[in-house]
Subunit: 308 residues, 2 copies
């Protein structure tokens, strides 16, 4: 019997990587032979967390059906965000905190989604429901994911359950949430070494909307001019990504984690849908979105409505 593979979405962020590690650990304790893997390289923020808690980055896979028949998905469900051969696999379990779409199974499965800010907040419940103790390192990685997804509790996606879970996990991991959290977030904002291609794609997801294929990327920074000073180069990379992958529009959400605002940079068409969605006027392909930090809660829903 081959191992059940557990993985988060493509272009993995800290929650995608650490929820796979935590959920695979839990499943192993429950007697199911699993391995946490990743659908891409870890970003600098996640690398900081993994290094801090002495954990190796999961092995990267391109396809899964060549080594297993069964998988468990964490932090995503939409097939276009999953492994390329997902339709050939049986999905045994999903633990997620996103909308459900473009997801289908032939058989009943375990599906646990809650409208909280982070997959690891749900996984903490699963550890408790199954009376499994969380090792210090895994608790630290789980806390890291909550800090990451909530931008240290500032995102509107953050619920009181996420805050309580992070505090409980920080206790187990023996960290100060603010000190550790700010250091980890800052580690993820070092954009200077990144090529324009890496910058637009490191946290990008595809969303089919109203017959169009949207690509929405997000970068965190402590200074949006770090990105906007490279606008010409970045736009060229976005246009090339559209052309190469059949995206109709590429939206890059540049989020200032200190101010909790974002600037969107848009290439492709129909741009007027972006203006309608956020009630803004694009100037030089950009617009400030005051108070917007969450792609899931503040970017995807208004775009979905505008394209409906």
């Amino acid at each position: 019997m081959s191992k059940v593979l557990v993985f988060g979405h493509q272009n993995p962020d800290t929650d995608a990587i650490t929820s796979a590690i935590a959920f695979a650990y839990l499943q192993n304790k429950l007697g199911i032979d699993t391995e946490a893997v990743a659908l891409g390289a870890v970003n600098e923020e996640t690398a900081y967390a993994l290094n801090y808690f002495n954990t190796a980055a999961p092995r990267i896979i391109e396809t899964a059906a060549n080594e297993t028949k069964q998988v468990m998905l964490v932090d995503h469900n939409e097939f276009q965000q999953s492994v390329s051969d997902i339709k050939e696999l049986e999905v045994l379990s999903v633990v997620d905190h996103h909308r459900i779409a473009n997801f289908e199974t032939a058989n009943p499965l375990y599906y646990r989604a809650e409208p909280v800010g982070c997959t690891n907040t749900i996984i903490l419940k699963l550890f408790k429901e199954n009376n499994v103790t969380i090792p210090k390192e895994i608790a630290g990685l789980m806390a890291s994911a909550i800090i990451s997804d909530s931008l240290l509790f500032k995102s509107p996606t953050c619920t009181s359950e996420d805050v309580a879970a992070a505090k409980e996990l920080a206790e187990l991991a023996d960290i100060d949430l603010n000190t550790y959290g700010l250091a980890m977030l800052k580690a993820g904002t070092n954009l200077t070494d990144k090529s324009a291609e890496d910058l637009i794609d490191s946290d990008a997801k595809s969303f089919p909307m109203g017959g169009k294929n949207l690509r929405i990327g997000q970068v965190n920074t402590v200074d949006v001019s770090d990105v906007l000073s490279r606008q010409t180069e970045v736009e060229a990379a976005m246009l090339k990504a559209n052309k190469d992958n059949g995206f109709d529009m590429f939206i890059l959400v540049i989020t200032n984690i200190l101010d909790s605002d974002s600037v969107v940079l848009v290439v492709g068409e129909p741009k007027e849908k972006v203006e309608v969605a956020f009630n803004v006027k694009l100037e030089n392909n950009t617009a400030l979105l005051k108070g917007v930090v969450s792609r899931k809660k503040q970017v995807v829903p208004p775009l979905t409505n505008a394209f409906a």
Copy 2:
């Protein structure tokens, strides 16, 4: 703020009706104003359970958007099995034990599915997780659903969790599972008073497969000849249902609850897919399916594969 409506699938069976009642009760205790409703009249088995536990049948609705914006689904998720205007509503929660398909939301939600035999087995967990006491009548209705879905624990869909849940609920409801269960199941097998239309439609669901639209109905009986003696009349009703509703094929699963076998009766095309799915030869449009009692686990998956 209008009430959140809670309902199971069309052509409701005992689990669809009682899981709505139980989940709405739980949500009300948790401070969310909900009402259990139904997408059709209760069948005779469910009527027996409701009568035994002094509970009124839920109000029947045709549409929901005329009275609420938000709903909670139990015992189903596929939109074609749900209320007719489901796409105009926000789904806040789903508790289910079926495959996931034809289901999509714009926002994150609470989704709890487990591969167990009955929705009420999951709802029992939710009562415990939220420390809410289950009243005797609701415990009895929940036990009734587990008996119904598992055919008194004989169905392959039945898990050890279902058996344990039924025992725990029977204790709360002060019933003997076997005595009560057999009486309830037999109440549901009285087919003589039913028109052919009622007979084929009382527990029928639609399943899109491989570009075809399948309708799969199921009736429980203690003697399959009760149905097969009316084959001409029943086939005519099935053909008319296909014509009126655009079904390509109607499959009626006639299940003997004492022998735990089923006979399928098939009209429409392509019939050879049914033969492939179950490795049988149809004779006079019928075939015996030895040991088959579960539409979900033993009928839908092989058909899905045959149509893939």
